[in-house]
């Protein structure tokens, strides 16, 4: 009796083809013996074992918790002051301004808000305006701009993109800059005064340069033509309907006028969420001896131009210092601490489970 036992290796070993049949040598159809074709490519085969998973959990826990603590401490060290000047309350100094609003009023409404800082702001201070419930991320709003026009394309200046409708033209002239975003540009003016303990009111110098991304200022936004006289450049265009003055009068500094006005650029970088803050001004640190903003009393003078009451929006002014991780936001720190702790805890639980069940199951033989 012949023993017939199947062995894959034997099969693979030699080839006794049918060459010789009919005299003609036939090329063997045996497949090539390459690791790829035989699916034997060398490979790293990771498996989830107690030896890898449990240490990973502990290591992740040990890494995340310190990072989280660091982030949390950093975030807590950031000084931030926020004041809401919307003026919805009767008691608010801006109440009157908020009530009597019209786009075309020639006399600006001003209101003054006193506040005091409990702690000095040591390093550079960034001044933001914050808006809430403002849907800068609405699709129709986001679309409503013409990047070619803003990039100084002369043809788009004369004939803005259709996306800009209904802020594409007014009085038969193309609007520059066109679109709903530009049209709704934030136009409150905020001024900050320090009140000395002796009562003197000093205006704090606010720097308006460097508040936009370099790429935006130098690549994305350009004034059309090479003519430094913007008035002639924009001669055949109309100002956005909500604007008080045309785009070439946004600033007197020619480096900050027209489309490359930084306030304008900041506004045009639309926010992702309905609540957002945008950088308004920077308060530069003067020297190492005195804090940028010493503790004490301040007033905020607002030229109230921007209506938000109709959609229950809020306007805020925020003063904040900045750390390596940005502005104040405790979320990341807390999240890292939490996740790190969860990892650690899971590690402990799984270690316990592994000891209780794992060994039993893994050592048990596979039923054949």
């Amino acid at each position: 009796m012949m023993a017939s036992s199947y062995n894959a290796k034997e099969e693979d070993g030699h080839h006794s083809g049918s060459a010789g049949l009919g005299g003609a040598a036939i090329r063997s159809r045996k497949p090539d013996n390459t690791a790829f074709k035989q699916q034997r490519l060398p490979a790293w085969q990771p498996i989830l074992t107690a030896g890898t998973v449990l240490p990973a959990f502990f290591v992740i826990g040990l890494i995340f918790i310190p990072i989280g603590i660091g982030l949390f401490v950093t975030s807590n060290n950031i000084k931030e002051f926020e004041i809401d000047y919307t003026g919805t309350d009767m008691s608010s100094p801006c109440f009157n301004c908020s009530q009597s609003f019209s786009w075309n009023s020639s006399t600006p409404c001003k209101c003054v808000l006193p506040f005091s800082l409990e702690q000095p702001f040591e390093s550079n201070v960034f001044m933001y305006y914050g808006l809430s419930n403002f849907y800068q991320n609405h699709r129709r709003y986001v679309k409503s701009r013409d990047d070619s026009q803003l990039n100084g394309d002369e043809r788009s200046l004369k004939e803005p993109s259709k996306e800009c409708e209904p802020y594409r033209s007014s009085e038969n002239k193309p609007i520059a800059p066109c679109g709903a975003i530009a049209n709704s540009m934030f136009n409150d003016t905020l001024d900050l005064f320090y009140i000395d303990p002796n009562g003197t009111k000093t205006q704090i110098p606010l720097i308006k340069k460097g508040i936009a991304w370099w790429t935006d200022k130098h690549v994305k936004f350009r004034n059309p033509g090479n003519n430094p006289n913007l008035t002639t450049v924009f001669i055949d265009t109309a100002k956005p309907v909500n604007w008080r003055k045309p785009v070439y009068e946004l600033d007197t500094d020619s480096e900050n006028n027209g489309f490359i006005n930084e306030d304008f650029i900041v506004w045009m970088r639309t926010a992702a969420l309905p609540t957002f803050r945008k950088l308004y001004r920077i308060i530069q640190k003067k020297n190492n001896m005195t804090p940028t903003l010493p503790r004490g009393n301040y007033t905020l003078e607002v030229t109230y131009n921007y209506p938000v009451r109709s959609f229950e929006g809020r306007k805020r002014m925020i003063l904040s210092t900045i750390s390596w991780m940005g502005g104040k936001n405790p979320f990341l720190g807390i999240a890292y601490i939490t996740v790190g702790s969860i990892c650690f805890f899971l590690g402990v639980v799984l270690l316990f489970i592994h000891h209780k069940y794992g060994n039993r199951n893994n050592s048990s033989d596979i039923p054949n």
Binding site: V53, L71, R139, Y141, K220, L273, I282, G326, K328
Partner: protein, 1231 residues
């Protein structure tokens, strides 16, 4: 659908009768018959684009994207730029179009090749060589040897005597034996006379074109005489002329109207169960999409009503709320379209194609002896191979080699055949090293016959009378015919023939020395060859005599009677008169039958022989018992007289003869027993054991007899002695069958309730019933014969049958017709939610191969027909375990992993939009940059998942085979099901929440490190898309269990590509080219330098995978799956354990008859009737004829292929892809 197919249908309706006049093109052209040029291609350069696009857009996914594209052009709706859809769509369309174009070019090429073949046409009395395509109906053409038949021809004359031609029809029906056609004498007389042929003006009137290969009717009117024409006179296109120098034929049907082309019907298009599941899931996904869009549209309505209306100052709007909600619905349809992934189907095709190539490339499924690699003929069914629950196997040629070897025998109470160790007396296993018996003393011995027990040859040489009687009986009692070859051309011709046409080897040619045996059954051939080698050479026979050579001495026995074999008698006898004048009866047959008819004096010998028979049976050998009897002269002459009377009796002839036979076959003397091994293919038993471990049920469906089938069942371990019971259902009425089935079931499970097993499952109104699996204590087997099966398959009883059969471990159906094979498969398909596989090698298996979910053809055995209709083919049954347990399992695993991951990544991608909608006023604002949306599926995530689904293996091949249980999850569809899909959806939900809300919280109302706003739209988009890309990559890394170089390349490459392309798209240069499309200028530079962003990305990715890792580890600890266990073991052991050898168990416990004999009734008559005797060898062709198949003695291809040697007979013939195959691929690819 090819267009000529349509043409044919139309023409068939028109044409009722075909009229042809030979050599009269003018007349024939009035009927507008098709010419001989064929066209299987679908396109030409001008029609390619429109036609191909039209076909592609008929696919639902493509059409869906076309509609999306249209939606995107509408400005009010368009939430995404058109290119986000166009780029993937164009890519997908062009890949498919390229594939179609290549296919079609190949078809053009093969068409051209075929159309431009040369043939000699008789025009104006002269032979002119012309292209095939120019042949017309009514032409007379000349064919030469080995040429393909050009069109369907009426044979006019040939070079061979009697106007015969020989053709090979392998391309047509897969049979490789030569067939004979003969022309009418009237036309045959014209011979080669071109003048006569040129002026031949016969008119043919015949049936219109049809696809019946075996039938032809028509008449030829010639010289005012009508001759009827049938299939014998017709040569069909696709055949090859063999052994015929030349022949002339009249073209009847040409080109597309030939029977070959008419037969290229559409083969049924098989789909996998995952495909079917996908269809359901896609519907579900559409539902989900609609639901999300409706929610968001309603949200939009509410928002517009409450907030949007107040926001009018900054964002003017014209439309009313309801209209806005309506538009939003469509906008969100566009944005969320990625839940129905366009690249899904294309990727699935690519994965299946890749996995098919692995099958083609597998050296372990390559059969060296026949030079046959495995072949995945269908590339769309791979993952189904990992879900097989039922295997339906043919027996002969599939499980067995169809080779019988004389293995052991028992003579006078002594058993021969085993080899014992000289001193210890221990039985040795016979291996290739064991020295076989040397038969050199016998010049007529067959050199390939191997026998290892030297004691038997000693016994022969000692001239022990019992041993001599034993072999004398074997040499005399049979219906084999011998062909004595003379020296000279005849022999050479035969040998040449043999070598030139290895395909014709499957005939019963056994060309050894100068003696060729033609045996009707392989068993007999093996026995006679054994006798020949042991010195009792059967030389020749005439109707009255048998000449044998006994130990070198020629003796002629007078053959007085053959008491033929039949299924009831289970024995055959011959009555001969020895040269000395002694009358003897020699009988061989089933042990049970012979034992009843033995002389009482044999009792002692019977006991010893019984022991041996049990031993043989236990080893799965087929046994026959031999007995003889000396007959008294007077008695015989009187018996002979009665026999003659009975055989001419008009009434009850059979009964009378049986009685007579019964009378004379009495009081016989026992000589011994033979044991023949029906050689299994290598590794069959082991494969079956492996498949059984993988919980695959194997049903054997065979046309063989019950005994044979049962015997094979035992020898390949399907049936085992240890089984609690093996039920045999062989009843003759429906009631009996039902009762037997019911009894069997009650015995297996006494407490079965009649209707509990039916589980109604409501699908679209109708209620198909499903039969649940019932667990049974112990192992049972069921053997049912074809007659009973016919009753069992009737609609009233099929459930009863199925229920009983499914409780058994093994089911063997014997004596089944090809149709019944298909019916059994259909039955299981219908009521079991299981995937079936049918494996077979012959034309009779085609129906079941086509019926099953997966058809596997054993190539190189018996023609090509099974292979041609199969989905996978290889040379040996044992490759099935590799195909299923390795390739199938991997394919299934890969496909499931692919689908799970693919849905995960797309849902996660899409759901983020859903969450964002709540923060952007439901305005259909996208979270991501449009470039990212376009490239996400195509570039950033396409290759890693493709790499996973082409290379992943949880355990390697060795371990897969080591633990066949790994296969079980596939049968239960555990890796991808509705449940798994829902888990995907939930997982995506969680991940997308993390991916949206972690960046949200991290940037909410805060500033960046340079003081500028933290959460501007573009930065937020970049952060979320970075989070998403990193997360899906990490998730992929977690899913990927086999990191090859390619995977590393793909994963890291894609991740790198994301950053490279992101930076590229956000560069100044591109912005200057198209400011509106690349408005994200500078975002990457300004954003990805923030430590905050990276901390956010890390946190998001960790939060997304943390629960997954914890859950996987947890379940691996608490309830490890078989995969976990094997992988753990693998890690501990590094190398697979050496595969344990499975020693064959010898079973002697119970008494079981090993009788099995594949012999059909009626050959005895033939032998004595003179009809089989060939005509004198006057010409070449007749010589061949007699060697191959004498008209009266026509061994069928299946039963006659015995070889006395333990070698396989069929070196694989080199078959070029035949035109039938080509057509098949055309049809396959035109789905």
């Amino acid at each position: 659908m090819s267009f000529f197919g349509l043409d044919c249908v139309r023409k068939k309706e028109r044409e009722v009768e075909r009229k042809i006049r030979a050599n009269d093109r003018e007349y024939n052209s009035t009927f507008k018959y098709a010419t001989n040029s064929i066209k299987t291609s679908k396109y030409n350069p001008f029609t390619f684009l429109p036609l191909n696009l039209f076909e592609q857009f008929q696919r639902i996914a493509n059409a869906y994207f076309l509609i999306l594209l249209i939606l995107q052009v509408i400005p009010a709706i368009s939430s995404l730029s058109w290119f986000t859809t166009v780029v993937p769509l164009v890519l997908v369309l062009s890949v498919t179009a390229a594939k179609d174009a290549i296919d079609d070019i190949n078809r053009h090429r093969s068409d051209r090749k075929v159309n431009n073949r040369k043939v000699n046409i008789l025009i104006n009395g002269k032979l002119t060589s012309d292209k095939w395509m120019n042949v017309q109906v009514g032409d007379i053409i000349k064919l030469e040897n080995n040429q393909f038949v050009t069109a369907d021809l009426l044979l006019l004359s040939s070079s061979e005597p009697l106007n015969l031609v020989y053709i090979e029809t392998a391309e047509l029906d897969g049979e490789t034996n030569l067939k004979v056609k003969q022309s009418l004498t009237v036309t045959g007389d014209m011979g080669e006379d071109l003048g006569a042929l040129g002026s031949f003006n016969g008119e043919v009137c015949c049936e219109p074109p049809n696809n019946r290969l075996d039938r032809f009717t028509g008449t030829l009117t010639f010289d005012t005489q009508k001759h009827s024409l049938d299939n014998e006179r017709v040569l069909l296109r696709g055949c090859t002329l063999r052994n015929t120098d030349w022949c002339f034929g009249l073209v009847l049907f040409a080109g597309p109207e030939t029977k070959l082309m008419q037969n290229c019907g559409k083969s049924t298009f098989k789909r996998t169960s995952i495909d079917r599941l996908m269809n359901v899931l896609v519907l579900f996904i559409f539902g989900l999409l609609a639901l999300m869009c409706i929610i968001l549209a309603v949200g939009n309505g509410i928002w517009e009503n409450q907030t949007g209306s107040e926001f009018n100052n900054f964002l003017p709007r014209e439309e009313n709320t309801a209209f806005s909600a309506f538009l939003t619905f469509w906008s969100y349809i566009i944005i969320l379209n990625t839940v129905v992934p366009i690249s899904l189907y294309v990727s699935m095709e690519v994965i299946r194609l890749g996995n098919s190539y692995y099958i083609n490339w597998d050296r372990n499924m390559y059969h060296a002896r026949s030079d046959t690699p495995a072949e995945a003929r269908t590339t769309t069914l791979n993952e189904e191979l990992g879900q097989i629950k039922y295997v339906f196997s043919d027996k002969t040629g599939t499980l067995t080699q169809n080779i019988m070897t004389f293995n052991k025998c028992s003579i006078n109470g002594k058993s021969y055949g085993d080899v014992y160790q000289q001193y210890s007396g221990e039985r040795l296993e016979i291996t290739e090293e064991t020295t076989p018996v040397d038969f050199s003393f016998n010049p007529l011995a067959d050199p390939k016959f191997l026998f290892y027990d030297h004691s038997l040859i000693e016994a022969v040489k000692l001239e022990l009378p019992d041993v001599q009687a034993f072999f004398r009986l074997l040499a005399l009692c049979h219906t084999v015919m011998a062909e004595e070859k003379k020296e000279g051309w005849l022999q050479n011709t035969l040998i040449n023939l043999f070598l030139t046409y290895p395909s014709s080897q499957h005939q019963s040619l056994c060309l050894v020395g100068h003696l060729v045996y033609q045996a009707q059954s392989p068993d007999e051939g093996a026995l006679v060859t054994a006798a020949r080698n042991f010195g009792f050479v059967f030389r020749s026979r005439s109707p009255e005599t048998i000449t044998i050579e006994e130990m070198g001495m020629q003796r002629s026995y007078e053959l007085l009677a053959i008491l033929d074999f039949n299924n009831v008698r289970k024995r055959m006898s011959v009555i001969v008169r020895s040269p000395e004048g002694k009358l003897s009866l020699y009988c061989k047959g089933a042990d049970t039958i012979i034992y009843e008819r033995l002389h009482p004096s044999c009792r002692k010998l019977m006991e010893a022989t019984t022991d041996h028979l049990n031993e043989f049976a236990g080893e799965g050998l087929r046994t026959l018992v031999l007995a003889y009897k000396n007959i008294d002269e007077d008695y015989f002459s009187e018996w002979k007289q009665r026999h003659h009377e009975s055989s001419v009796a008009l009434e009850d002839r059979e009964e009378k003869l049986d009685e007579l036979y019964e009378e004379i076959e009495k009081n016989m003397m026992l000589i011994g027993a033979t044991a023949i091994e029906d050689k299994l293919q290598d590794g069959v038993a082991l494969t079956i054991e492996q498949l059984a471990k993988a919980e695959i049920k194997i049903w054997v469906l065979t046309g063989d007899k019950q005994e044979t089938a049962e015997n094979i069942g035992y020898s390949c371990n399907l049936l085992r002695e240890e089984m609690n019971d093996v039920f045999t259902v062989a009843a003759h009425s429906p009631e009996e069958v039902r009762q037997e089935l019911r009894d069997a079931r009650l015995k297996m499970k006494p407490s079965t309730e009649p209707n509990k097993f039916l589980v109604p499952e409501v699908i679209l109104g109708n209620t198909p019933k499903l039969v649940q699996d019932e667990s049974v204590e112990g192992e049972y087997g069921l053997v049912i014969n074809g007659h009973s099966l016919a009753f069992a398959l009737e609609s009233g009883m099929e459930l009863e049958f199925l229920r009983t059969a499914c409780m058994c471990k093994t089911v063997i159906c014997c004596r089944v017709t090809p149709l019944q094979k298909a019916q059994v498969v259909e039955l299981v398909k219908k009521y079991k939610k299981a995937v079936t596989l049918a494996i077979g090698d012959g034309a009779n298996d085609v129906s079941m191969i086509k019926a099953a979910h997966i058809g596997v053809g054993i190539s190189g055995q018996e023609g090509m027909q099974a292979v041609l209709s199969s989905d996978f083919s290889f040379a040996q049954f044992r490759f099935l375990q590799r195909l299923l347990l390795v390739h199938g399992r991997w394919s299934y695993l890969r496909m499931c992993k692919f689908l799970r991951y693919f849905f995960y990544k797309n849902f996660t991608f899409t759901f983020v939009h859903f969450w964002y909608a709540f923060f952007c006023g439901f305005s259909a604002q996208t979270v991501y940059d449009e470039g990212f949306i376009t490239l996400y599926n195509l570039v950033y995530t396409a290759l890693p998942v493709l790499g996973m689904s082409l290379f992943d293996q949880d355990v390697n091949a060795g371990w897969s085979l080591e633990f066949p249980q790994l296969y079980v999850p596939g049968q239960l569809s555990q890796y991808f099901s509705k449940r798994a899909f829902m888990m995907c959806v939930l997982h995506s939900c969680y991940s997308s929440l993390m991916i949206f809300f972690v960046p949200y919280a991290a940037t909410y109302d805060t500033a960046r490190a340079d003081g500028t706003e933290g959460a501007d739209y573009q930065s937020f988009a970049l952060i979320t898309q970075t989070c998403l890309t990193v997360t899906v990559c990490v998730q992929l890394g977690l899913d990927l269990s086999y990191w090859t170089v390619v995977n590393h390349l793909f994963v890291w490459g894609s991740l790198g590509m994301f950053f490279i392309l992101t930076f590229t798209m956000y560069t100044d240069g591109l912005f200057r080219i198209r400011p509106s499309s690349f408005a994200f200028v500078g975002t990457a530079r300004n954003c990805l330098n923030q430590p905050n962003v990276w901390l956010t990305v890390a946190l998001t990715a960790l939060l997304c995978v943390l629960p997954v890792v914890a859950h996987r580890f947890f379940s691996c600890q608490i309830a490890p799956t078989i995969n976990d266990k094997v992988r753990n073991k693998m890690r501990e052991m590094k190398e697979p354990a050496p595969r344990p050898r499975h020693p064959r168990l010898t079973r002697r416990s119970t008494r079981r008859s090993g009788y099995a004999f594949s012999h059909a009734q009626g050959y005895g008559d033939l032998v004595t009737s003179r009809r089989f005797l060939r005509r004198p060898a006057t010409s070449r062709s007749t010589a061949f004829n007699s060697a191959g198949r004498s008209p009266g003695f026509k061994p069928t291809g299946r039963s006659a292929g015995y070889s006395p040697v333990g070698r396989e007979q069929n070196p694989k013939q080199k078959v070029e892809p035949t035109s039938l195959q080509k057509f098949r691929t055309v049809i396959d690819s035109s789905f």
